[in-house]
Amino acid sequence: MTADEIRGHIDPIRDQFAEGRSLILPALKFAQTEKGYLDGADLEAVGEAVGLTTAYVESVATFYDRLYLQPTGRRVISVCINLSCMLRGCDELLSHLTGRLGLPSDGGSTDDGAFTVQQAQCLGYCDRAPCLQVDVGETQGPMSLDDADALIEALRAAPTPDRLWR
């Protein structure tokens, strides 16, 4: 994404912050909507738009789990593996999903670029454990293995990602 596009996104909210540096997360997230991850050029553009060195942008971006510096699949499935979900079988859910997509048991991306399955920490839907989140959409649960199969089918049929953090 270009610095100008990013500026277009953050300029309207610039005056809500006493220091321009605060715009780095909104800028990074917006830049990520394009490809689903951030490459070096995106980090550079964010730095230019916010007025920071690219290195600084990278140091901030790598601090957060939901900013990706490696390519991801079109749809990113985050399976919660924290305690409440573990007690309700998320390990089985995760290995079912990864097995079905032919991925390593702890997650990864499919060769066709359709899916990334990753482990997530507590998603705050423990009452619906085991739960998972697709992209930035609402977390779903409780997920049975059948639900998981159905989800994959539904996502294949609707490959447009929901990446936009507003």
Binding site: A18, E19, I24, Y64, E138, W165, R166
Partner: protein, 431 residues
């Protein structure tokens, strides 16, 4: 069952409280109107003090006291920051408040701002809650439109703006100073204190930072009066508290109960429907995962701050994770160790290195490669972490595991000798 709906007002009203007209119809914004019409900022502050309401984010610090720490003569603008990072394992109360009762939160933030002389509030919401963030976006827009936010709100001379800021996935950004650094566009690493946020918080300005639930309580306190509020609950734990219950109970969910009126037993068996047939209570982490574990011995503990401390744990965020006798305490401990290792910001040596080491040792034990001396080793590592770090993350990492090792020693010895089961089965239970 003594359940009351104060922060969960929406459950008593038929309408969609995430729509401004419905909220107003249900008596919303009475507190703010009352404050702007009849109360000086100090009166509001006094009501907060008098209500005895304590922070619901985990530490339980009295809100009124914290608000009174803000210097009155600072040349810098003061800020209200709402901590909506809700990442404590087992905690999901703020999620429901924001999704179904957003205006009461917004009203609470404005009132807090009025009390401390601030004109700008920030809600820092975890990035995973994009769905809730969109609800809040809408609510904020409606509030501006309706004159409940902005300059001269409700035709008073008080101005107040709210900015919603989305996190991007880091538990440590729930720690208040980590949150502030993240909001300032830095890596969200906790700051050395003092100075406390009240003195030098966001952009080095005086800052009041409170949890979603805490702030959502404020309109009710102001509208109905601190004295009324303080009649609920116990002397040191006034009001109601939302418990997020998860794990092996039949009816997981959020339950708002009057503090001290209910016991853990009542919560688990009466409110949450008890356990699957053939299984019974084994352990629970009552205040989110960062607290010492409770055993069956403690099941009659009353649900308030003091009683939890007497039982050897903390009420924390009241994210109550429950395990029945089918669960494995050693695997559970490993899962938590993994979480804290993953979330340590890396600033403090003991936290960064210690959580990594704990996970490695526990992993070996679970894999059946443990040695008896590993139990002492774990204790030694934890002794080198506790109380020797900047923020409470590392203490939170030690508390559940240290207590588990102490209270369920036999299970650990067994695991050293035989390893642990590979995985929990999917556990189909009541919804």
């Amino acid at each position: 069952m003594p359940q009351r709906h104060i922060v969960y007002l929406h459950r008593e009203h038929p309408g969609d409280m995430a729509q401004l007209p419905e909220y107003v119809k249900a008596g919303g914004y009475n507190g703010l109107m009352k404050a702007l019409a009849d109360m000086e900022p100090d009166d509001v502050l006094y009501q907060l003090h008098r209500s005895g309401v304590r922070g619901r984010g985990g530490a339980g610090f009295p809100m009124g006291r914290k608000a009174s720490f803000l210097p009155k003569d600072s040349p810098r603008p003061a800020y209200v920051v709402c901590n909506a990072d809700e990442s404590e394992p087992g905690t999901f109360k703020d999620r429901e408040i924001m999704e179904f009762n957003p205006f009461q939160l917004l009203e609470g933030i404005v009132l807090a701002g009025y009390a401390i002389g601030s004109n700008h509030g920030y809600i820092y919401i975890r990035g995973e809650y994009e769905h809730q963030a969109r609800v809040l976006d809408r609510a904020i827009a409606q509030a501006y439109e309706g004159g409940y936010l902005g300059s001269g709100l409700l035709r008073s001379r008080f101005d107040f703006d709210i900015t919603l800021y989305r996190g991007a996935g880091a538990y440590i950004c729930g720690e208040e100073t980590g949150l502030l650094d993240s909001l300032e566009g830095k890596r969200g690493q906790p700051r050395l204190k003092p100075p406390f946020p009240a003195v030098a918080g966001l952009y080095a300005s005086p800052t009041l930072i409170n949890n979603v639930e805490t702030l959502t309580t404020v309109p009710v306190i102001v509208a109905k009066g601190a004295d009324w509020y303080a009649t609920l609950g116990t002397e040191k734990s006034t009001g109601t508290k939302v418990f997020s219950v998860s794990g092996h109970v039949m009816k997981p969910g959020n339950y708002e109960i009057v503090m001290g009126d209910t016991s853990l037993r009542e919560l688990l068996y009466d409110i949450c429907g008890g356990f699957r047939p053939g299984h019974d209570f084994k352990a629970c982490w009552i205040g989110g995962s960062s607290v010492p574990v409770l055993t069956a011995e403690h099941v009659d503990t009353r649900l308030d701050y003091e009683s939890c401390e007497t039982a050897g744990t903390y009420l924390g965020s009241a994210g109550c994770i429950v395990m029945d006798d089918s669960g494995c305490i050693v695997r559970s401990s490993l899962r938590l160790a993994h979480f804290y290792r993953h979330e340590s910001c890396g600033k403090c040596t003991p936290c960064r290195e210690g959580t990594m080491w704990m996970e490695k040792v526990l992993q070996r034990i679970v894999d059946g490669e443990g040695r008896m001396e590993d139990l002492e080793l774990l204790e030694s590592i934890m002794g080198r972490i506790s109380g020797r770090v900047l923020c409470a993350l590392a203490d939170g990492a030690v508390a559940p595991i240290e207590s588990a090792l102490r209270l369920f020693r036999d299970d650990f010895v067994h695991a050293v000798e035989h390893g642990s089961p590979a995985r929990e089965p999917m556990a189909p239970m009541g919804a």
